[in-house]
Symmetry: none
Subunit: 236 residues, 2 copies
């Protein structure tokens, strides 16, 4: 096979890899190029949104090619992407709340939890597939601690103190984590053996992950962008 | 083999080349795009941090492919990368101290020493492998003169005169050179024949070099970035 072979019209994995790569590239260009319109304080947040989509664009391009050549899930590159982009999303949470006095320790806590979530997920998908349910469970617990931390823990308190546009952006991001991120465990259950096979077995792990990434990476960035627009307009 | 062949799950060289390429790309985008947020005086330093990681990103992408196709160390491209990026790091030292009155001669001295260090290292790794210990020793001497120059020599005096954030950034960079750069001779000893084989023979030269590059290129740049943030905030 070559990279330019015909794509079967029902090869939704190839399709979503291609569209995903393109969308991530466009999103990265959008964030990078609109950066200069904002106050210094917001520039870094927009830049991080750009980095998340840029890193994804490169990985998607690569994963698209890998799928085309090997007709196999590029699990390894998927997790390399996540291990870079999910911690950057934790940085975004911190950057938004920094203006309201968030401490670096909050950022490191979220980063640590996200690394635990991803490393255990990787182990379940690759090395210990037979115990995928167990590693998925550990990963899921780390995920829930993140959800708790931002919805009800210290991050929530700081957001309430900040109020206004920061609070409402924080709230939207919380919904992304609760609903948007919940797409991933579905992909995981669709692609690993376990009692849940009957429920999600019909879905393709890659298609589910690709949809999740498009929503979360681009959507997350747009929420931050929107906050920067509101905050900059108010000052003028 | 093709560039898109499956990567063995224990192929740490391929792994670190891939992650390295990605991290260098993201770092270059970060430095290039944040440049405009700083005072004119610091813009050039941030730009140089961006160039160092950008040059590395291109080489890493190439070295990744080279490793995939030949399963052999891309020594030649490694040194092409270093011969461009290490002198640029010497330029960074100079740029930081320029505000405190450093002269161009300091920069040229450091550049000269780093070229000696790299050319002799290359000879030891390739042309005169049988006398690798000798060329490594000469390279190491040049390295020690660099260490002396920045820790105790004229660079140190200027940094002390400058004081404040410049002094503390200079100090951090000095630690990078003393500890971070010391990773490279370990890689060299792991990858060349010599009496030291028994000690470092188990390590992979490429993995060690890749870890060293990630720490030194990105870390070095972030120290400079941090200095620019502090210096810019103070003025406002
Ligand atoms: C809970 C859980 C998982 C969660 C993954 C998540 C939440 C990934 C989020 C990725 C994002 C947000 C990427 C966007 O850049 C895994 C690892 C699938 C394993 C099964 C259990
Ligand atoms: C002392 C010594 C070496 C030192 C290499 C160094 C210090 C390289 C630094 C590279 C950097 C900092 C690259 C980042 O951009 C060699 C040539 C391995 C040969 C053995 C002796």
């Amino acid at each position: 096979p070559t990279i330019l072979d015909k794509i079967a019209s029902d090869d939704y994995v190839a399709f979503t890899f291609f569209v995903g790569a393109m969308a991530m590239m466009a999103a990265a260009a959008f964030f990078f190029l609109s950066m200069s319109s904002f106050d210094r304080k917001w520039k870094t947040s927009i830049l991080v949104s750009g980095l998340i989509t840029f890193i994804a664009a490169v990985h998607y391009w690569y994963m698209r090619d890998y799928w085309q050549m090997n007709a196999e899930s590029p699990t390894f590159f998927r997790y390399v992407d996540w291990i870079l982009t999910v911690p950057l999303m934790c940085v975004e949470f911190y950057l938004i709340l920094k203006v309201a006095g968030a401490k670096k320790s909050l950022m490191w806590k979220l980063i640590f939890l996200s690394v635990v979530m991803l490393v255990t997920g990787y182990l379940g998908e690759t090395v210990y597939r037979d115990a995928a349910w167990f590693w998925g469970l550990v990963s899921g617990i780390a995920y829930f601690v993140i959800v708790y931390e931002i919805w009800l823990g210290s991050a929530k308190k700081i957001a309430v103190q900040a109020g206004g546009a920061v609070l409402s952006a924080h709230k939207t991001l919380c919904w992304f984590v609760l609903v948007g991120w919940a797409i991933y465990p579905i992909g995981y259950m669709a692609g690993t053996p376990g009692w849940y096979e009957g429920v999600f077995g019909g879905l393709s792990l890659d298609v589910v992950y690709n949809i999740g990434d498009a929503i979360n990476k681009i959507g997350f960035g747009l929420v931050v962008y929107n906050l920067a627009v509101i905050a900059t307009e108010k000052k003028q």
